[in-house]
């Protein structure tokens, strides 16, 4: 099958556009999260998404309404992580662990009440970007604009807080507010990424393009741009390969990302020893 034939399918066009938008969000936010050692927040929020999906399925909501319904739940959970870390005198990783476990436990409980796991829940666990509908693509586009505008507006504040929070505070930056914005933008992105790689693999889409870009970047802006480019390329190649070879899309994207990381790491090692 050639490229033009592949691109002639409407579902492929939607998958490639939607996948690319979501890949940009994940990879850009990923750089901030990785450098702030908050990489696993994506994992925690995706587990919350699992609980929220189970709840939405219990009420027999599907795709478009499902995405709309779980956004407030995941946003609330992201606030929960922040407040737990600030108020309960526990570290951020422990707060992520608590909210993450709560999300999975709620999901399993609700799935059991609904009569066990079903095909729908599995499609959310492992993603199915090829089935993205026009309305879901519209939600993805709207959230893309919201998240990318948020990053653009707060770019320098995010950069300063990521470099050193104490120094950022002495520059008059409200770092608690910036942290909250970063976590909220991540929560929105996680909801979208669920469709691409699935709940189980979301953290890979947040972490891998960022760490690949960090291997070779010579500056903060170039790190952000390279991460976005790597994210889009790996998602586009992953979707295409999975379609041609009839492989699971989410897993293919993650494995291609891992291969990219190995290549970037090798290139960095070779450049350093030259």
């Amino acid at each position: 099958m050639n490229i033009s034939e592949m691109l002639s399918f409407g579902f492929m066009q939607r998958a490639l556009v939607g996948g690319s938008l979501i890949a940009i969000l994940c990879s850009v936010l990923g750089v901030f999260l990785v450098l702030r050692r908050l990489s696993l927040i994506g994992d925690g929020l995706s587990h919350v998404t699992f609980g929220s999906v189970a709840l939405a399925l219990l009420f027999r909501l599907h795709s478009f309404y499902m995405t709309l319904a779980i956004i407030p739940l995941v946003l609330a959970s992201s606030f929960g992580i922040l407040k737990l870390a600030q108020r309960a005198r526990i570290y951020g990783d422990a707060a992520i662990g608590i909210v993450s476990a709560l999300g999975v436990a709620t999901g399993v409980m609700l799935a059991s009440m609904a009569g066990g796991f079903n095909i729908d829940l599995f499609s959310y666990l492992f993603g199915n970007i090829l089935s993205i509908s026009s309305s879901e693509l519209a939600i993805a586009a709207v959230l893309f604009v919201i998240v990318i505008s948020g990053v653009a507006v707060f770019y320098n504040d995010l950069f300063a807080s990521t470099f050193d929070e104490e120094l950022a505070k002495t520059s008059g930056i409200d770092t608690d507010r910036i942290n909250a914005i970063l976590v909220l933008l991540t929560a929105l992105t996680v909801v979208l990424a669920m469709k691409v790689v699935g709940i189980m693999l979301i953290s890979a889409l947040l972490i891998l393009p960022a760490v690949s870009a960090l291997q070779l970047s010579k500056g903060f802006r170039t790190a952000i741009v390279s991460s976005a480019v790597i994210g889009v390329c790996t998602v586009v190649v992953g979707i295409s390969v999975s379609f041609v070879m009839n492989l699971p899309t989410g897993a293919t994207i993650v494995l291609i990302n891992f291969i990219t990381f190995i290549c970037a790491f090798t290139a960095r090692t070779l450049l350093r020893h030259r």
Partner: protein
């Protein structure tokens, strides 16, 4: 109180129930170079954090450049250099000029955007500090001394009226430390920048600073070095040899 660069009255501060500072009162005139010394746990760093708004005081009044601390917003008038970065990641992908430019954010309001004058200020500061040739280097690739120099450039990029340094030379070798002290000395004498320098290095500070604040949870001494040298009370506290070392009039 309003004419001073910094005025603190009856300050009390601490963490989680423990008291780090009590009844601290002193003031610093514009153009002064104040060395802040004291034993470990004497509250030096807490004092700096309170001045910079990183720790809330439990009681007392603070006036920064003539404005009460609670309403002070002009952070571009204050430069801060810590001992090192809080959680420094040697792989952080920022270049020297990107890091120095971050210092310009304190003069901006929402949405914080850089303009041509920011680039010019960064260039000017790098040239003045002789680090223009490393502008494109990654911050993590630099030696400890050079990295502190870059962070000092970040603190100076707004040409601040008050420069606060918290043990900036602890991790540096003696040669780099000396050149660092000289640079700060020049800032103070040539540009009239008020300097607050927290240091353990009581034997060196007298060479550069004009005034001394000796802390041990509260103010033990605050004044100029001549007063310190002639104080019988300080002789009793430090012994003649210790007092002579701090005076640095040998």
């Amino acid at each position: 109180m309003s004419g001073a660069a910094l005025a603190i009255r009856n300050l009390r501060a601490g963490y989680h129930g423990s008291e780090a500072l009590r009844d601290v009162t002193f003031s610093v005139n514009r153009g002064d170079y104040l060395g802040i010394c004291g034993p470990n746990g004497s509250g030096k760093s807490t004092l700096v954090k309170v001045i910079l708004g990183l720790v809330a005081p439990q009681a007392g009044e603070i006036s920064l450049l003539g404005t009460p601390r609670e309403s002070f917003k002009e952070w571009r008038r204050i430069g801060y250099l810590p001992q090192g970065l809080q959680f420094f990641n040697p792989h952080f992908p920022a270049t020297v000029d990107e890091v120095i430019r971050l210092g310009r954010l304190s003069g901006k309001s929402f949405p914080r955007r850089f303009a041509r004058e920011d680039t010019e200020a960064v260039e000017r500061t790098m040239d003045w500090m002789g680090i223009g040739d490393i502008r494109g280097r990654m911050i993590g690739e630099l030696s400890g001394g050079l990295r502190q120099r870059v962070l000092l450039a970040r603190a100076l990029v707004n040409e601040p009226e008050l420069l606060v340094l918290d043990e900036p030379t602890t991790a540096l070798d003696p040669e780099t430390r000396e050149s660092f002290y000289k640079l700060i000395y020049e800032m103070n004498r040539e540009r009239g920048t008020t300097v607050l320098l927290v240091t353990h290095d009581t034997a060196t500070i007298g060479k550069y600073a004009t005034h001394l604040l000796y802390l041990d949870k509260t103010v033990i001494f605050c004044g100029d070095f001549d007063d310190f040298c002639n104080s019988r009370e300080m002789t009793g506290l430090f012994g003649e040899h210790g007092q002579h070392l701090v005076c640095h009039r040998h």
